[in-house]
Symmetry: C2
Subunit: 269 residues, 2 copies
């Protein structure tokens, strides 16, 4: 079993409820990554719904998660022929931390026209990109999530690591799972939150907590290194949007994401 | 009272539930516009929450709405100091049509840095743009919503109206309410779904129903004509994303939206 599947495993306890665990393996300092916690909740949703692929997932983060046990309660709202829909809540110590709405479908059965004018992100070749591992972010937080991926950053987008913010809200690179887990639709909600925030290139920040997070899964990904590209074009009064695109090993757009997040002030020197 | 406020008015019936009406004044053929129905539901949310401005709204459309009475049931999930959060369901004839998650805040009290690298859409001057009123779309459906706005389309983005699809998934123009209602944060979830779909420039379609719809409200808008700009960059197997930006009369980005929709086949000749 690959580590992401073990780290998001859930077991049913009846009535649409499941037990799972928020591990400390996808964290930024003390804070579990939002995409990972969504992934834990979606394991329960996937067990309840008849369709195999998440198509859209929208989550609101109510209170920070802790590392430890969690209970996920799923409400199935619709099981149609092509789309099924659920609401899910993740609780820890009986406190709701996260609520999401998810549409599932079978992406292998999509019918209709295809016209894609989007183009893959302008990354340098893999060999010109570099890993950071779990090197601390400028805010001093250690990202254990960095060890889950083999990430090769576009050097033009990680100047912040050396104190040179580019002024362009962009972070991108090549990625694969560190344990060679194939990319699939279940993992895309993690991957869409799987790089340091693009706002690091705009201003000094502390933790950048997600307030709302939406992922659209557009296709089942092919194998190989995928490309992740995140942009922030508007930081307004400390709030920012971050848009993400994931392109698979065969140059196809497989997911689009957007989150609203808060750029907390940097820690004092 | 302005017409949008009358058309989204709700009255409390206790326990977080409200009665409202889905009018026939924001429809595309028989189908009420998704942004409008979200607006009706948000009137109930706004009545329940202590903060004045929607900050993020994510909705899933479960079943098509009808014209007529509706009941909205609001569950308040969090009332924090800076953010409050609710789930809301819109029912008609005891069938749930729409579920949404909404974060509210007071945007006049946002604190933190502002860096905006996004630029307003490249619209021609107002006098070079033209109205379409409620002229039928290529799919033959009459958009009564067209009468709620004074819309001046960028001519380069409405070639589809004359049978010349541009091949670029873009629709944009200048807009104001037909009754001079000032733009505010409550109306932005309507405005972010207030133009014909950009996919009209890519392929022939029938109705384009929304599956998931997320709006981020970024600032309280100033007055005057606003600019709306919608893009679709990936139509894949009949499913498309549509991204929207609304820029106010003082050139500020006030809302970003994204929806997942289905391009249904065109009606037979």
């Amino acid at each position: 079993m690959y580590e992401y599947d073990a780290d998001t495993a859930v077991s049913p306890i009846g009535g649409g409820a499941y037990r799972g665990t928020v591990t400390d393996r996808y964290s930024i300092g003390p804070y579990p990554n939002g995409g990972y916690v969504v992934g834990v909740a979606l394991s329960a949703v996937a067990a309840e719904l008849p369709h195999p692929d998440p198509m859209s997932v929208s989550a609101v983060f109510l209170r920070p998660c802790d590392h430890g046990p969690a209970e996920i309660r799923v409400e199935t709202m619709r099981t149609g022929r092509t789309v099924s829909t659920a609401s899910a809540s993740l609780f820890q110590n009986d406190v709701e931390r996260l609520r999401l709405l998810a549409n599932y479908t079978d992406l292998s059965r999509s019918v209709g026209p295809t016209v894609v004018t989007a183009v893959p992100p302008p990354l340098p070749p893999l060999e010109e990109c570099a890993s950071r591992g779990i090197a601390p972010a400028p805010n001093g937080l250690i990202p254990t999530i960095g060890a889950r991926f083999d990430t090769r950053f576009d050097p033009a987008t990680v100047g912040w690591a050396g104190g040179r913010r580019s002024g362009r809200g962009e972070v991108g690179g090549w990625q694969r799972f560190a344990d060679d887990r194939p990319l699939d639709t279940a993992a895309l909600p993690l991957v869409c939150d799987g790089m340091p925030p693009a706002v690091f290139n705009l201003v000094p920040t502390g933790w950048v907590p997600t307030i709302e997070y939406t992922v659209l899964v557009r296709a089942r990904p092919a194998g190989g290194w995928w490309r992740s590209w995140f942009t922030t074009r508007a930081l307004i009064g400390g709030l920012l949007e971050e848009d993400g695109e994931i392109w698979d090993g065969e140059d196809r757009l497989v997911a689009q994401s957007r989150q609203l997040a808060r750029a907390n002030p940097p820690p004092p020197d």
